[in-house]
Point group: T
Chain length 159, copies 12
């Protein structure tokens, strides 16, 4: 690539942070997908499956983008565990409404991290990475919207 | 077409009324699809998307049918606004259960309008238009059934 | 087939019992699919449709398997009615939560019947029939899991 | 629906009769599909599979149509067994030519039942149900034609 | 079929007339498709190909419908030539605008023949044949509309 | 095209002869497809449907090929009737074995006509038309083979 | 979303303006698609159908984008009628060349409105909305190009 | 693999025996497919084609399975010829009923060989190979069933 | 290959000449596709796109064929520019009718070049290359036919 | 499920161990896929992508199977990191041949873990889980075979 | 067929020779596919799989072509073993480069055999068989080219 | 377009430069694809085919984009030859490793040219063109990465 070495270093660092969060969010979304319960079981089970698929689909393009600009990606489960900013939730039972709330918060943080990475790309003129991030922010804000609206309290008629 | 001029006039009038309602119901269904909220968010968001797709799919065949018998269709947003019988709902917030109830009523009215248009076609022997309407009534009654059943009060266990 | 006559007789008997239950469970699942109501209408309507499809898909392979080992299958509605172990539910109205609970129980019984049939196959070395049953047990346990989790009581926020 | 209560009652009764026959004919066609024999085995095995698929495809639309007009459908194997007009055939062995002849008769009766149900719909102006029945009559008459022609005696050259 | 013998005779006659016209219109439409010329060559070449496909698709269902009600279909090119009402056009060169005008007239006549056949079916209560005809009239009126609009004189700017 | 005028004339004449035969054979094959009877009804009904599709698929490429070399194609049902060499069979009833035998003979004649047309193309160096004919001969010989083998007398066990 | 409240307000306003124009342009394009006439009927009928599909495909993403950033979308036909900037054309007859010219102008205005909305997004750093707009400008400029070139005067040979 | 050397040796030997039989049965089934004759020509021609495809589909998985456990597969036509247990049939003419009978016997022997190979796998705990064999036995028993039923004597009416 | 060295040399030379023309014709067809104008814009824009796709599809098979017989293909834009026989047209504006006329001529020349190359193949018995050329001549003559017919003068009604 | 509590506990433990290894092996395989280098870059890049896809596809079925028998799955990146037995490789550069060798060893260990889990299932009669494991062992042994053969030393000609 | 008896005899003989070679080459290519090794394992494993598929795809058309002209095909493994000209290679280990070289030679011989068979067809005017052979020669020369180029010695950098 | 005339001029110039390079790189990549040799033949042959497809896919969108903003595109092979900056390589033989190295350099230069064009678009606010370029830079950097990694020296074990 014709980007300067500093670009490779800083953009790779920003993108690897996002990559670790993506894996962490993927596992957490799947965790809640597997342990969902209650009258909305099937609906939320499907919702979280769709969201986990969408989160997971970011991973390979992020890593390959880092490689295209000459950087190195994350390398292992341990590497991910050390780098990620999204907290684990190993509780034995989580209320469905708490699941939705927690994922909403995590996705909001992911959007902020993506926006931050976009700034780094802008700084170095890496317009190709920036362009990819724009799509992922849109998707992340969509997941946040769904989780926010679905997380609201129902009315007395059960709707 | 070999239908008399009165047929063209009366059937076109009936079908353009339905066409305006179809656009109005489409926008309202989408409106509720976009502003849905609460624990059933995803389920109802999808339900209204499917219903809006089905409503929208009626528009082009109605308009082209009018053209085939020599009539003129609606021409603009203003034309639709003046012709439609389904009321706008511009409220800032609508309860999910109220959304379902209002759409149920609108679909019931649409079925009645289609049945009325069928009578006009029968009168003039326009069996081709009549045959299309029969399918649309079935679809409209299906939407009504779904909205009716989904609109019922939940029990104390949350089901 | 090179299996002994006793294998044909005993395996056919076990499999025809399962076949009758499969038809009975199929009709009951469709019955509840058609008469579902309440805020979860669409979600459960779809759930039971998927489950009925999966149950129905077992019927032809079971019957053809019986024929491949030289046995005779069930022959009529009357035959099914006499052979099935799953109870009819002809009630005019069933609460959604009761629908889920009843189907959960029926699927649990079906899994037990399949496991029992697997033992019969093992006894005679009919590894081909046994292999098919293993897949159906997995599917049946999946339906039971979904019905169990979806059947749990919702929390106070409506989730 | 805006149809009168009497329409719901009479049309539902007519359609549930057809629904029971559809299930009975489906099982009988499959029964003969599974126990076919002789030089035409594969050809008739496939013929009856296609016919059973076509018969089965009527069931869900019939039941959902009953629901759309506010009626209740059949609910169980027992319900079907009590309602159906098509006779069981539990014979251990049936000649292929007898299979074709019996199914031909059953399909002819089904066509008559559909035509009768169409009259009921006409009476109440339920044009949507009527429209569906028209397609099913055509299919049923096609099955009858195939069974009639295939059931004719071969010539001396074996054709 | 349970229709009376007179129905078989009269409906078959009406439908065989339509069938002959369908083949004649198909060949003429293809003829013009093959010999089209001028600035609109590709556009009209495609238009007539689409129309010929749609006309041709009527043939097999018409013939099989005649067989289902116990009638005999047309049997040969000679049979078609003797039965058809649509005139041959064997001219060496036909102006594109004349092609459009002639086909428009032929399609209008076909619609009238279909409407006439519908009356025959109505008389005998053959609702299945009638239902098929309704779709074909709609298609035929669509072809007529296209040919009418495309056949109009262009303005001075060449549009 | 850069082929001489004599090539256009002679190749067009040969190909139009084949085109007329193709339409005649198509209608006859469909005729037998519609009026087939006896124990092999479904098998032969399908066989002739496949063969008629294959025959029909030759028509458009033949006609367009004639146009590409500057010739004129057949124009109407009357034109086909005057040009074809394959005889009509308007009999009310034809034995299945006679149907197979007659079509076998017709296909053999069609192969000969194609081979003759190939010679005309060779003479003028029209290698593109010749190349198409080679494929059609192979297909025609395949139809002949099927009809020959299927037309043989069955053995005493009914096979 | 982590965008400031002013962003939600201003971007929603800009996007709702575009949304209203999109619906208005969609209906007008369909209007001309339905009432096209003259020698180019099929070609322009198809052109406007493709363009209307492309315009319509913008609507849902625009509305959902507004929701993702916390805004409210348009809610009804009346809302669209009050908000849109594209003028209705309810004339009984419009020359084809005038149709092309009017749509060209409307699309040019839509591109300008999109560019303006892009500036609003840029101001608030809403890169996800901006990214979507870039694609829609490209599509809108493509529609404008087609309408411009097709709208030019033909030469004396009719091309 | 972590299976012992004796497992590799014994399982490979058993599977190569099956592999040789698979190729031999494939060629024989194709041979009869190519030389079929009589009124059932098309039906049996297709039956044997389907069966040969199914037999052939076993070959690659068998060979690759042998490689996965560290063994060597058959290597040539000569190798197959020396290893196979299914007899060649090079007769110039074979009655259709004899074809069905011979293949029925060969498939029965293949099922026995597969069952024997399953025992070898069980002995060494090679559950992956065993699992594949279970599916192939089911398929082989299906082919045997079809050949048995189709091979039965027809009745006096030609069915 | 077992063809003589002279065959490789002469056939490669002939085919590389065709390959250069193919690229030149491809670019010119695209050039006219991009710069088309007037009332037929969309129709001719599509026509030339289809033709350019078809021309382009010849390139890889030609080059790979040269490699299969041991020759070397063209290697660069410069190589193409030096080898091609089809003239560039860099005019700023070309009338649509002139575009059609020029491409018609170019395609006619391409057909002649292909026919010439076929003669070279015939001479050396390279039947595989010859067989490919036969298909390409047919396609080229089809493009010429379309361009010829579309290039004809319209009549006074604008058709 | 009707399996005893001990089965749920022991099988869940075994399967969660496998699940952790599956995630670890997935990340490592992707790591090597991203950092591959040398003349075989594309070939091995694709090989490891296919293998990582196959490994990843095991994860959801394992976790859902644990849920179906009433157990709890792994819940987070931290949970995976603590449970997995496959070692991380965070080296900055790894030789391609070392990558192949290390993955070969890891897959061999995974096969052993699967075989061990199979024993646990056998003990408790959980035939559905056992059946799934059999397929995964076959896939794992296939990956091992590919990695073993590809990891062998090349010969002096570079093959 | 209308070809003379000598044609049937000589062409069948030539084609059966090719058919035997096709089966022999297929098994050898698969043999090398299964026993490939070294750094190029996956690449050559795939190459030989593609080539074996292409070789195998010739078999059924060759055999059916023989049947269409009235000949008899090969009938068994023994028949193939006696007729084939391609030598078996039962060696326990073959160097990858030797595999490529041997297959290159075999394919070259197959091309020569096909060219020889083409001469026989030419002699008798069997243009349909000849046309099929032309395609197969092209494919065979493609396989030879690939094997030749891939079989060349690598350079010192490992490329 | 509402962009200023200077934008049309400067952006068109920049994009036509890229377009010429795209065609030149396409031909060179194909050239190396056709003349590849050595042990990696198939792998690199496929790599360059994929890359040439990706390069080629840029051409039409670039040219149409130029047209949308009112510019003129390149018009001929000669135009491309005069405009391109990527050098021809007409050498009779090129080492595979040299092919990879040369293409790596060319792609790097193409990325720089795209980045330069992006600056021109930014200057004039042509955000639609800029958005397209961002995707192409990403693709070009991916091709460069692949060529760089594949171009590295192998180790002593042949990997």
């Amino acid at each position: 690539t014709d980007l300067p070495a500093a670009a490779t270093k800083d953009i790779s660092a920003a993108m690897n942070g996002v990559l670790a969060d993506v894996f962490a969010l993927y596992i957490k979304t799947k965790n809640f997908h597997w342990h969902m319960s209650g009258p909305h079981f099937r609906d939320y089970h499907l919702l979280l499956d769709e969201q986990s698929d969408q989160v997971f689909a970011m991973a390979d393009p992020i890593a390959e983008r880092v490689r295209k600009i000459g950087g190195q990606t994350l390398k292992s489960i341990g590497d991910i565990a050390r780098t990620k900013r999204i907290a684990d939730n190993d509780a034995g039972y989580v209320e469905p409404s708490d699941m939705l709330a927690e994922l909403q918060e995590d996705n909001k943080n992911l959007a902020a991290a993506l926006r931050e990475a976009h700034n780094v790309c802008d700084e170095y003129g890496d317009i190709a990475t920036a362009s990819l991030i724009e799509v992922w922010i849109d998707e992340t804000e969509r997941r946040t919207w769904f989780l926010f609206e679905a997380g609201r309290r129902g009315d007395s008629s059960g709707h």
